[in-house]
């Protein structure tokens, strides 16, 4: 054996010892792994940081990851969590069907998953599924939209990524309310994929085809912000805009009068609640609540916008 090979073996051996030591250390302080979609959406960033803060406050170590809405990346993150002997996983999943196998794999390895924000199409696999009631929220937003429009006019709907369940649920909630008003006429419906820049350029084109538009109802806040920028560029101040999420950007637009309303999903609260239930489960062996928990959304308009900060209402 050459000297370099001997040194490499030595290095490998010491690295293994160190890894074992780290593993042993992690075992005295329990690990919670938090997996959400990309933090470039402040909604998911807020969710992850709320869960992270709560878990640390309860004495856990944490690892925070993003699956970028890619189910195979999510699966790899689950493998890492299992290998790291996590005690629990807090998950905002990457697909209602595509996530089931990964969650089941963790369960078989003795790691319970606590789902937030999005459901999966299976029960008995996750320990809990805490979901904000998107349908109820959409009806709140739609009602505020219709009232602001004076129950009549031509409007545009900007929908989210069409492969995302929430995009469909919100759109259905909007229409179940708006379609009851015969004088509300939808002149265009386009997906802007939750994206601000796409909403901006599509809104500019729609305004050209349908200058008679006097309302825009967006499936989330980033698209609402894109529409507001397009309306501003076109010098249109008369158009009613509403969003969904309760982001600080649309809060500021509501306060400035460029947007009418948005719908707050209690993202931070959901994430904290999931961690609390995980803590209870790890101590008592059960959560003591039903698997599916639905949390109601809150309408944000000029009356309460100033109390909103990073997806939580104060006071």
């Amino acid at each position: 054996m050459t000297l370099t090979r001997r040194m490499a073996m030595l290095a490998l051996a010491s690295a293994t010892t160190m890894l074992l030591a780290v593993g042993a250390h992690a075992a005295d302080q329990k690990l919670i792994v938090i997996i959400t979609p990309s933090h470039d959406n402040p909604f998911f960033a807020a969710e992850a940081s709320a869960a992270d803060a709560k878990a640390k406050a309860l004495g856990y170590t944490t690892q925070v990851y993003s699956h970028d809405d890619d189910a195979s990346k999510q699966d790899q993150l689950f493998d890492s969590a299992i290998a790291a002997h996590a005690s629990a996983i807090i998950l905002d999943n990457a697909g209602a069907d595509a996530s089931i196998a990964a969650i089941k794999k963790a369960k078989d390895a003795g790691i319970p998953s606590f789902l937030i924000d999005r459901e999966i199409n299976a029960t008995g696999v996750a320990a809990v599924q805490i979901v904000s009631n998107n349908y109820q929220g959409a009806t709140l937003g739609a009602q505020a939209f219709v009232t602001a429009m004076g129950e009549k006019g031509n409007y545009v709907e900007l929908t989210g990524k069409q492969s995302d369940t929430n995009a469909g649920i919100r759109s259905k909630g909007y229409h179940d309310v708006i379609d009851q008003y015969p004088d509300m006429k939808m002149v265009a419906q386009q997906s802007a994929n939750w994206d601000q820049n796409e909403a901006f350029s599509k809104m500019e084109s729609i305004l050209q085809a349908h200058p008679e538009v006097n309302g825009v109802i967006a499936g989330n806040d980033t698209m609402a912000m894109g529409a507001i920028a397009a309306l501003k560029a076109a010098g249109r101040k008369d158009v009613i805009v509403t969003g969904f999420d309760g982001s600080n950007d649309v809060r500021d637009a509501v306060l400035a009068g460029t947007a009418k309303a948005t719908v707050l999903q209690p993202a931070a609260r959901e994430a904290e609640y999931a961690v609390e239930l995980a803590d209870k489960f790890l101590k008592d062996g059960k959560t003591g609540v039903d698997e599916k928990i639905s949390m109601d959304c809150v309408l944000i308009d000029a009356s309460n916008a100033k109390n909103l900060d990073t997806f939580a209402l104060k006071g």
């Binding site: 990309s38 933090h39 470039d40 959406n41 402040p42 960033a45 069409q162 265009a188 419906q189 386009q190 997906s191 994929n193 994206d195 601000q196 820049n197 901006f200 350029s201 599509k202 500019e204 084109s205 729609i206 050209q208 085809a209 349908h210 200058p211 980033t222 912000m225 894109g226 920028a229 501003k232 560029a233 600080n248 950007d249 500021d252």
Partner: protein
């Protein structure tokens, strides 16, 4: 058949194939006229001056990226990092306006003026392009891999700058002396929005550089036959470094315009823009193997993509069909490109 008969037959065949060749050469332009005519009939208000201005403004961002991309592809390379540079440059500009530069050792925060931060942003774009170029020329990393790596690095850096959040409301303030950033997106000269003017100026300069300058000829030479170019004294590495810097610079210009239009910087801005830029260049007749293509063709290609996108939105066609149509047009362009090469080759034979 007599000998003259054969000659006439050959002659008319040549005339037919030359007419076909002309049609094939003008294919992108013909495609543009066709889609334009189609939407003029099908989409309400499509032909209004105001709408044509807006379509051109949407095209401008992709066209500016595609100008840089064309230089890169002409050398036989590819630049996948431009979309991420759009995002990163926007975040740098947004951060400078909203938060300035902190200098804790002096206890001050410097807010650069819009002119200064524009220069910084453009410099960053060119520098990132320069890093791509150095990876490719000095460290012999394949362009696809080097710029794919940079795609992730630059996007990650953009996200790190704000922890994923948006820099909102980029209007600056008179006290800080940094007002005026939104002008790149919504300013107008003689009624024409700045993005269109910027695109036109950059296209004219790029076309001049490509056709009339020694640099331009060397770019074509490197892409046509790199060894031959090197043997005839072209400093291949310098040319390659320069084209990636041009591409990074163009991406920075596009990034400033995108953030300025939205009056906000989002770290995910520019995702998949690199693919649209490549599509515009390819539609415009630029060969991915290098050495063949033109700036004019690229601009027309960008217009075909932009007119298609906006027209379908105005008609109310669903997002899914828009994707299918865009993909089919790109494939058709390359098929026609191959057909043109075959017809041209058979004429030479």
């Amino acid at each position: 058949m007599t000998v003259t008969g054969v000659a006439i037959e050959q002659q008319s065949q040549r005339a037919r194939s030359s007419a076909l060749l002309l049609l094939l050469k003008l294919r992108t332009f013909i495609a543009l006229i066709l889609v334009f005519g189609f939407f003029a009939v099908m989409a309400p208000n499509f032909l209004s001056i105001e709408n044509i201005v807006i379509v051109s403004k949407h095209v401008a961002i992709n066209a500016i990226l595609a100008i840089g991309m064309t230089f890169v592809i002409l050398t036989g390379g590819i630049d996948l990092s431009v979309g991420s540079i759009v995002g990163l440059v926007g975040m740098i500009a947004g951060g400078l306006i909203d938060y300035g530069i902190h200098l804790p050792m002096f206890g001050v925060i410097i807010y650069p003026s819009v002119f200064e931060l524009t220069l910084m942003a453009l410099l960053v774009g060119a520098l990132i392009g320069g890093i791509n170029g150095i990876l490719i020329t000095r460290l012999s990393v394949a362009p696809f891999i080097a710029t794919l790596g940079m795609l992730y690095v630059a996007r990650g850096a953009a996200l790190l700058l704000s922890g994923g959040a948006t820099f909102p409301n980029l209007v600056g303030s008179p006290q800080l002396g940094n007002e005026g950033f939104p002008v790149y997106g919504d300013g107008r000269l003689l009624g024409i929005p700045y993005p269109i003017i910027i695109m036109a100026v950059m296209a004219v300069i790029a076309a001049y550089v490509a056709i009339r300058t020694p640099f331009g000829r060397r770019v074509y030479a490197v892409g046509g036959n790199e060894r031959a170019a090197a043997l005839s004294g072209v400093r291949v590495n310098r040319i390659k470094l320069a084209v990636y810097m041009i591409s990074g610079f163009c991406a920075a210009v596009a990034g400033l315009i995108v953030s300025s239009q939205l009056v906000a910087s989002h770290p995910a801005n520019g995702e998949t823009f690199e693919l649209s830029a490549i599509a515009a260049a390819v539609l415009g007749g630029t060969s991915l193997s290098g050495g063949r293509g033109s700036i004019g063709g690229t601009i027309i290609g960008a217009f075909v993509i932009g007119v298609l996108g906006d027209g379908l939105v105005m008609m109310g066609v669903s997002e899914f069909w828009q994707m299918v149509v865009k993909g089919l047009v790109i494939i058709a362009a390359v098929v026609l490109d191959q057909l043109q090469r075959r017809v041209a080759a058979s004429r030479r034979a």
